[in-house]
């Protein structure tokens, strides 16, 4: 193991202070491929140190005191990265807020921002001049600064004690609803990086390539903090530029000889579809790990990516999977080339009863997220908190030195460790362990319980979408509590492809019902066929079950009045 792969707390502190600058100063920290024409801009550790020290001095000059929380609201940029490390250097507790969020409706925007900053109990908000002007000198109790002025003179590192409860704060990943603030200590980060780098078999010669935003744990921990503390280079793209044109990103893999890349599931299909470049300019043979890091992992997205890029040198064993969350600092489990991700085809009705039965009809392919990484204990629990045997479904509980101590409780009145049972963190995800691998089957709260049987909305939706006339990918299933029956009623909303068919939709509805019963073994109590674009999408671009549920309830009379 290379010397720099010591991730002990004192090693992290020493690297934050750039104590190793004589050894690493001339080496590349970042290749910034951000901005028009996605040109190169190589930043060495000496460059980075100089910028970090100057901004850290600016924080001190502005009056920021050790331990104060700093929210960074900036576009994806080198300046954002410098601001993050400068805050750490100055002993502050940074967090990155999603950009851009400056809604034009100033009043509504201020209300949202005040909620985020209040949840963080942020002392400082660092943003650009235009946003700062809109916000004024403060938002609630948070002081607004635009672009920290570079400080003058030397500054001694004030990096917080390794025992401090928070080194930085990241946000839990809900697609809707209020995000929770997760404080990560030096101990959490140290445990995570030590364990994860060993599973990845990280080497001096490795390089990470990323377009991920820094306000998610995947972008921040896996794609910024891991390479920074391992002193390996990072090729950095901007999310928006990647979206507009993913081709420079995929070409840069070969140009920079990148070895590691983390992606959400949708990016696999997006790149397979939109990264058409001449084969000779594409070389993916350097990639040792392209990690699919979202739940659920779709086998078909991975297959599309593999089929598209296999001829460009993409190694089969580079396609990997990871189960991760902000509350665990990042990774819970990870597949490796020696122990690749696994697939099981299981019966959907049996899955609903909490059993795993191999099946080839009415089936669903589940993809594993690898084995728990060292130091993370995973346990599957039933409703009463009893540990489930392998191959039995239950809620995924986690324990270990990289798991958060608790969410931030800014007002101090929130319940203490409400998401914990003893020393176990209850993730809210449903899954099982098979042959030592973690399989994530869905979110606990989305499961519909019909007469004691668990039905997964994604299975109902998939069945509905296979019926000709129903718009692919545009169906939402949900459970509505039925007081009379004391159980949930399954309600299915599906968009038709052509609004004309709604005039006489009886036959189509019958087909949909039959398909659902065949798939999950339970019948929806109501099927609503609706015109195109009726279903609400979340800000992540996925169908939003929770917001569609609100819409269904709001329009219940109108929906049920349909002949």
């Amino acid at each position: 193991m290379a010397a720099h792969l010591d991730f002990g707390r004192s090693a992290l502190r020493s690297r934050l202070c750039f104590d190793d600058i004589e050894a690493c100063g001339a080496r590349e920290a970042f290749n910034l491929r951000i901005g028009p024409s996605a040109g190169h801009r190589r930043i060495t550790y000496a460059d980075l140190r100089s910028d970090v020290l100057s901004i850290a001095a600016g924080f001190v000059d502005a009056g920021a005191l050790p331990g104060e929380r700093v929210a960074l609201l900036r576009p994806h940029s080198y300046e954002l990265v410098v601001g993050f490390f400068a805050a750490l250097f100055a002993g502050l507790v940074p967090s990155v807020i999603a950009w851009p969020t400056a809604k034009m409706d100033a009043e509504k925007y201020q209300r949202n921002l005040r909620a985020v900053l209040g949840g963080l109990a942020a002392h400082w908000l660092i943003t650009d001049a235009a946003t700062a002007e809109k916000l004024g000198r403060s938002v609630g109790a948070t002081r607004v600064l635009h672009a920290v002025p570079r400080g003058v003179g030397a500054i001694e590192p004030r990096v917080a004690s390794a025992e401090a409860p928070a080194m930085f704060v990241q946000f839990s990943g809900g697609t809707t609803g209020a995000q929770k603030s997760v404080p990560i200590s030096a101990g959490h980060l140290s445990a995570q990086l030590h364990s994860y780098a060993s599973v990845l078999d990280l080497r001096d010669s490795d390089r990470v390539i990323s377009w991920l935003p820094l306000y998610h744990d995947m972008g921040l921990v896996a794609c910024l903090l891991l390479p920074f503390f391992a002193r390996i280079p990072l090729t950095m793209f901007s999310p928006m530029e990647w979206v507009m044109d993913p081709r420079p990103f995929i070409k840069a893999v070969g140009e920079d000889r990148a070895t590691h890349c983390w992606l959400p599931n949708f990016a696999f299909a997006f790149m397979a579809k939109r990264a058409a470049v001449p084969a000779e300019s594409l070389d993916l043979s350097s990639l040792r790990a392209v990690v699919n890091c979202s739940e659920p992992i779709r086998a078909e997205s991975m297959d599309l990516f593999r089929a598209r890029f296999a001829a460009n040198g993409l190694r089969d064993d580079a396609l990997q999977a990871c189960y991760a969350m902000a509350e665990a600092t990042f990774a819970v489990s990870q597949s490796t080339p020696a122990d690749p991700l696994r697939r099981v085809m299981v019966s959907v009705p049996a899955l609903g009863e909490g059993r795993l039965v191999p099946a080839d009809s009415g089936h669903r392919v589940l993809v594993s997220s690898g084995r728990p990484i060292p130091g993370v204990e995973v346990r599957i629990s039933d409703e009463s908190g009893n540990e489930q045997a392998p191959d039995r479904l239950g809620e995924i509980w986690l324990r270990g030195p990289a798991i958060m101590d608790d969410y931030l409780r800014p007002t101090g009145t929130e319940p203490v460790r409400a998401a914990f049972s003893g020393d176990w963190y209850r993730s809210g995800d449903l899954g099982f362990i098979r042959d030592g691998h973690v399989f994530v089957a869905g979110r606990k709260k989305d499961v519909i319980i019909v007469g004691g049987v668990n039905v997964y909305p994604e299975d109902v939706e998939a069945a509905a979408c296979e019926v000709p006339g129903i718009h692919a990918g545009r169906a939402v299933a949900m459970g509505l509590y039925n007081e009379e029956q004391g159980t949930e009623s399954m309600v299915l909303i599906a968009e038709v492809e052509d609004e004309q068919t709604l005039a006489n939709s009886r036959a189509l509805e019958t087909h949909v019902r039959a398909a659902v019963v065949a798939m999950v073994g339970a019948a929806p109590s109501r099927v609503f066929l609706v015109p195109p674009k009726w279903i609400v999408k979340s800000t992540a671009g996925k169908i939003s079950r929770s917001e569609t549920r609100v819409r269904v309830l709001e329009r219940w009379a109108e929906l049920t009045g349909r002949p």
Partner: protein, 81 residues
């Protein structure tokens, strides 16, 4: 052949509404105004291509091309033929 932008507008307003959950004026900035982020644009592009049967070629568009309902309509019209 030119595509009538006015005929595109109702569909685009709907696609935008499904993401912003809000009635947005046709000339209001969406990207620079923070109503739509990079993750949402992935989905917006795939949706526009499907709904209007156009191909929006990567590299020929900028975030500004999606920065308002009016601009999205011009962008779709540019690639429709």
């Amino acid at each position: 052949m030119t595509t009538d932008i006015n005929k595109l507008l109702p569909g685009i307003r709907e696609i935008v509404f499904m993401r912003t959950h809000d009635e947005v004026p046709d000339d209001e900035p969406l990207v620079s105004g923070g109503r739509i982020d990079s993750m949402l644009i992935v989905d917006l592009i795939l949706d526009l291509e499907e709904r209007f049967s156009v191909t929006i070629p990567p590299g020929d568009v900028q975030p500004d091309d999606f920065d308002s309902i009016n601009k999205i309509a011009s962008t779709v019209a540019r690639f429709a033929s």
